[in-house]
């Protein structure tokens, strides 16, 4: 699997993400600086977590206007995979590759902890290594992960099975208590129509080795490695 990890000023989980790609696929990622206008020849373009441009103005807003973004758009149009995690998810929605927006957590606080996610669509290129409905552990670390979309968009996302991950409790129940940020329908990750762009707030890249406390995050990278 050939991957590129985009680096914007203020991004800070680029090493974590590149490490996950390397641990799972054995291949080093290309690190691509935001001022580039072309991507290397890769299967997956990954946009990591962090605080691009300090997350000033709006999370991901300034990064989404960077020179590299046109190339990301073209990559997606060609059917290439795009993975946006945390700030990456925010950037991908600001680019418009995914619908909706990420707002301040309902608690108004940054939250870092391990949550549970239910894999609500295990047929995607990003999740095929998981079982349908499987409950996995996954760390989160964000202040603005409260997913919002208008009713119509939401109905489409739900109707087309594009809600891939949902916050849940250990038994897989989606409850307010198990939702760390107040996301609508407890959404943690969504897919675009074509199925090649995934955005998610949690950080599977921080749970891929037993030393980190578990390996539940591996499945996502293994899924990609199967198709790419």
């Amino acid at each position: 699997m050939k991957s590129a990890v985009l680096v914007f000023p203020g991004i800070n989980r680029e090493r974590d993400l590149a490490r996950a790609f390397e641990v799972v696929s054995g291949v080093k990622s290309h690190m691509v600086w935001h001022t580039e206008t072309e991507l290397p020849d890769v299967d997956v373009v990954a946009i990591p977590g962090g605080f691009s441009y300090g997350d000033y103005l709006r999370c991901g807003a300034i990064a989404a206007r960077s020179p590299i973004v046109d190339a990301v758009r073209r990559h997606a149009e060609r059917g290439g995979y795009v993975l946006g995690i945390c700030n990456g998810f925010q950037i991908v929605t600001e680019i418009g590759l995914l619908p909706g927006a990420l707002m301040r957590n309902a608690s108004l606080k940054f939250v870092c902890k391990e949550v549970r996610l239910r894999v609500d669509n295990a047929t995607t290129a990003f999740t095929s290594a998981y079982a349908p409905g499987q409950v996995i552990r996954c760390p989160i670390a964000h202040g603005e992960g409260n997913y919002f979309a208008d009713a119509e968009t939401l109905a489409r996302l739900e109707g087309e099975g594009r809600v891939v991950f949902r916050y849940c409790d250990a038994e897989g129940r989606t409850t307010d208590a198990a939702d760390p940020n107040g996301s609508i329908n407890h959404i943690a990750g969504i897919l675009n129509e074509r199925g090649n762009v995934l955005g998610m707030m949690p950080h599977p890249e921080n749970l891929i080795e037993s030393l980190q406390g578990g390996i539940d995050g591996r499945g996502l990278f293994e899924s990609l490695a199967k198709v790419a």
């Binding site: 103005l57 709006r58 807003a61 300034i62 206007r65 600001e94 619908p99 909706g100 927006a101 707002m103 301040r104 957590n105 309902a106 108004l108 409260n146 919002f148 208008d150 107040g182 609508i184």
Partner: protein
């Protein structure tokens, strides 16, 4: 010439900050606050003094960057 841009959430978009402020005001003993919405204020110092040009320019800035028109409205005042 100065421009003041106010960016507010569209109706129907959840506003966690506004809600939190409302709750905090209530627990501080301020009764009678029916609703609170929080927005952004962006003040720009522009080199130009041509109103029409400034208006067009700032509108373009809002559309391209300052507001996320999926969830936000903006309003421009020139001063």
């Amino acid at each position: 010439m100065k421009a003041r841009v106010t960016v507010t959430l569209k109706n129907g978009v959840l506003d966690p900050q506004g809600k939190a402020i409302q709750g905090a005001l209530k627990s501080l003993g301020f009764a009678g606050v029916d609703d609170v919405r929080q927005g952004k204020l962006i003040e720009l110092d522009l080199a130009t003094s041509d109103r029409a040009a400034a208006e067009a320019e700032v509108t373009a800035m809002c559309e391209k960057l300052l507001a996320n028109t999926v969830i936000e409205n903006y309003r421009i005042e020139l001063v």
